[in-house]
């Protein structure tokens, strides 16, 4: 039996790992304060070339002709890269997890769909020579009508932004043009409500503006491999994306990163690596592709803008009885990660509250704006902003303290959420109580005593099975099975399917939700 002599390394790590409650120094702090942390651009390689990209000045235009003749002859130019040079010039980031259709070229070929879209890459001896050559590229644009508003983009006759998605919406499961959430009956809820409040919320796109701009340096390595120094936040995600776009095995690349000058979600899109590597492949030299600040702002993807409509039905006693949400995520011209943000958003509805009737429709919409991407809690952040503004307005409307209003409607352990999952490990009430205490916000005694826990706790980490609607029984495939299929043939008469879990049953209100007085306020609302 071979065993690691842990005692040799005993002074390196305390296996007890009692770290909570004390400061622990970052491993990279010495490098940071001495300026020796190596970011991608701190690698200076022999014979390094510089790549700059010609970008579209139009938000939407057909490319009639791209003339690079004069630019090719410009001094210091080593190579001009066009869309036809990219082995697989169509990709979508989440194709790596089998989600979405390839919709975005590395270099535009027939059309540009947003201002700043890359058209031609120029590899030259110096950045200045690359820029000089860029000014000599002639592009004949045919400007097209553009659409910048999510709701305009969904109207009949709106310009088609991206032909891969002709209705200007991302398509889920090849069928659905948006994500839906249905729970209870909102219309009945509104009919019964004492007040109904409908509001519109509009977010702006937000630029991450990392102090270090996106960039990478790719260099030929031994045995036909390439080493890539990169600012990416997602090293293997970027590596795999490059392998797909450049159509080579993923072990062609040795990605080196990890020291990132601020990312916040703006460095997951593999914006620079594919062209830097392609430049290195085509020239046999190290190639550096670093975004300038203006490019970072114009071409580097922001947090997407969202438009959100919320309609709530609320009772005079403070209970929210219905919540209807319609939201549009502005994905820009390509999908990137917005389709996923929408899924996350719908999974978050109706916020951390127990509401018996919920209705959600959220769309991932294409417009002629810079493609949006990840940013710190994307999909949830803007929706939460809208929901919490709405909560304040509702509290004001019925004249109840906004903190108490949240505690009153907070989900508690055992509540059935709109996704038909039982709430577990909830702690909103405790969060509001602590926030109120820190802000010296007076709460009434009985509100201070309320708890998210039901019956004093219990197993908090367990995840209950998701109750499902009964599905119509599928007919057994009747065609002949192929001979190489070794699985036993499906029986003609299927055994009766196991009964689906029952739909959520209304539960008796639990007095342990808090003070008795508040339980009576909830009445039979809780399920």
């Amino acid at each position: 039996m071979l065993e690691l002599r842990k005692d040799i390394f005993a002074d390196e790590r305390d296996d007890n790992l009692k770290e909570i409650g004390k400061g622990t120094q970052r491993q990279d702090m010495l490098g940071h304060v001495t300026g020796t942390s190596t970011y991608f651009d701190d690698h200076k390689l022999q014979g390094m070339l510089h790549l700059k990209v010609l970008r579209s000045p139009h938000a939407h235009a057909r490319l009639r002709r791209i003339d690079t003749m004069e630019a090719e002859r410009s001094s210091g130019v080593r190579r001009i890269i066009r869309g036809a040079d990219v082995p697989r010039n169509l990709n979508t980031l989440l194709s790596l997890i089998n989600f979405g259709k390839d919709d975005e070229p590395s270099l535009a070929v027939d059309k540009v769909r947003y201002k700043g879209e890359p058209i031609v890459a120029i590899v030259a001896d110096s950045p200045r020579e690359a820029y000089e050559a860029m000014s000599k590229v002639r592009v004949d644009y045919e400007p097209l009508a553009a659409v910048f508003d999510v709701e305009e983009a969904l109207k009949p006759g709106a310009p088609v932004v991206n032909e891969v998605y002709p209705k200007n919406t991302f398509i889920y499961h090849d069928v659905y043009d948006h994500q839906k959430l249905r729970f209870g009956d909102v219309e009945r809820g509104f009919a019964e409500a004492d007040h109904v409040l409908e509001q519109r919320y509009q977010m702006s796109p937000i630029e991450h503006a990392p102090t270090e701009t996106n960039g990478s340096i790719a260099a030929p390595d031994t045995n036909g491999r390439y080493v890539v120094y990169t600012s990416t936040q997602a090293l293997f995600f970027s590596l795999d994306t490059c392998a797909k776009i450049l159509d080579v095995p993923s072990n062609t690349f040795h990605f080196i990163g990890g020291t990132v000058g601020g990312g916040f979600g703006g460095k997951v899109d593999t914006l620079t690596e594919p062209l830097a590597i392609l430049g290195a492949m085509l020239t046999g030299r190290p190639v550096r592709y670093q975004l300038g600040r203006e490019e970072e702002m114009q071409f580097g993807s922001p947090r997407g803008a969202e438009r959100i409509y919320i309609k709530d039905g609320v009772m005079r006693d403070g209970r929210i009885v219905a919540r209807k949400i319609r939201a549009y995520f502005d994905s820009g011209a390509y999908t990137r990660l917005s389709s996923y943000a929408v899924v996350k958003c719908v999974a978050h509805l109706p916020g951390p509250y127990t509401i018996p009737n919920v209705h959600g429709d959220v769309y991932c919409v294409f417009t002629n704006r810079t493609p949006a991407t990840a940013m710190r809690g994307f999909g949830v952040t803007a929706m939460d902003f809208a929901l919490e503004c709405q909560m304040d307005k509702l509290a004001h409307l019925i004249g109840i303290d906004p903190m108490e209003f949240r505690i009153l409607n907070a989900y508690r352990d055992g509540d059935m959420k709109a996704h038909r999952r039982e709430a577990k490990n909830t702690a909103l009430i405790e969060c509001v109580q602590v926030a109120a205490e820190k802000a010296k916000w007076p709460l009434r005694e009985e509100v201070k005593r309320m708890s998210s826990r039901k019956d004093g706790g219990g197993s908090r980490a367990a995840i209950s099975p998701t109750p499902r609607e009964p599905e119509p029984q599928r007919a057994v495939a009747s065609q002949q099975r192929t001979t190489y299929d070794r699985a036993p043939p499906a029986p003609i008469h299927e055994p009766p399917p196991t009964a689906p879990p029952p739909p959520p049953r209304p539960q008796a209100p639990s007095p342990s939700h808090g003070a008795t007085r508040f339980s009576s306020v909830f009445g039979t609302r809780r399920r």
Binding site: G31, V33, S37, D41, R128, R293
Partner: protein
């Protein structure tokens, strides 16, 4: 392209190099001398990541033509520590957790050094003013201000 001969003191050592016309000090330091401590953030004087001291005064190296430092003295973060010993500002930044991604840190440290060199006992407001040209997008300004104040008071303790 015409090259211009250039001599200046870089962190106390004389350096001589040729630069292309129009090259800024940031590029000259990073690409000709190999001092990677000043960082490129915007190239427009907006972020302070490239801050260096020229004859003891704080300057943005991305907006300084390399030729203009001829015969002058340039200090960067690379010259801040004294042999193996960290500068009090560097120690304070470590102790106060005043860096996250680290990219603004070289510029912050130079801005802080410029302040403490001319004003060893700054107020909190003076520290905030002194680093107001340096952007930290990880939003770690509070620990940075604390670190500069801590370095100032440790300097006073030694004096």
């Amino acid at each position: 392209m015409t090259k211009t001969a250039l001599q200046f003191r870089h962190n106390g050592r004389d350096v001589a190099l040729f630069v292309d016309g129009g090259v800024n000090l940031l590029v000259a330091l990073r690409e000709s001398i190999g001092d990677m401590t000043p960082k490129f953030g915007c190239g427009q004087g907006g972020c302070g990541a490239c801050s260096v001291l020229i004859d003891g005064e704080l300057h943005l190296s991305c907006l300084t033509l390399a030729e203009t430092v001829n015969g002058r003295s340039v200090e960067t973060l690379d010259g801040l520590k004294d042999g193996p010993n960290l500068h009090p500002l560097q120690r304070a930044f470590m102790e106060q957790f005043a860096a996250q991604c680290g990219y603004c840190t070289p510029g912050m440290l130079m801005a802080a050094k410029a302040l403490l060199d001319r004003n060893p006992s700054p107020t909190r407001a003076e520290v905030i003013e002194a680093i107001s040209g340096n952007i930290c997008r990880c939003t770690g300004y509070e620990p940075i201000v604390n670190a500069v104040l801590a370095a100032a008071s440790s300097g006073r303790a030694r004096a």
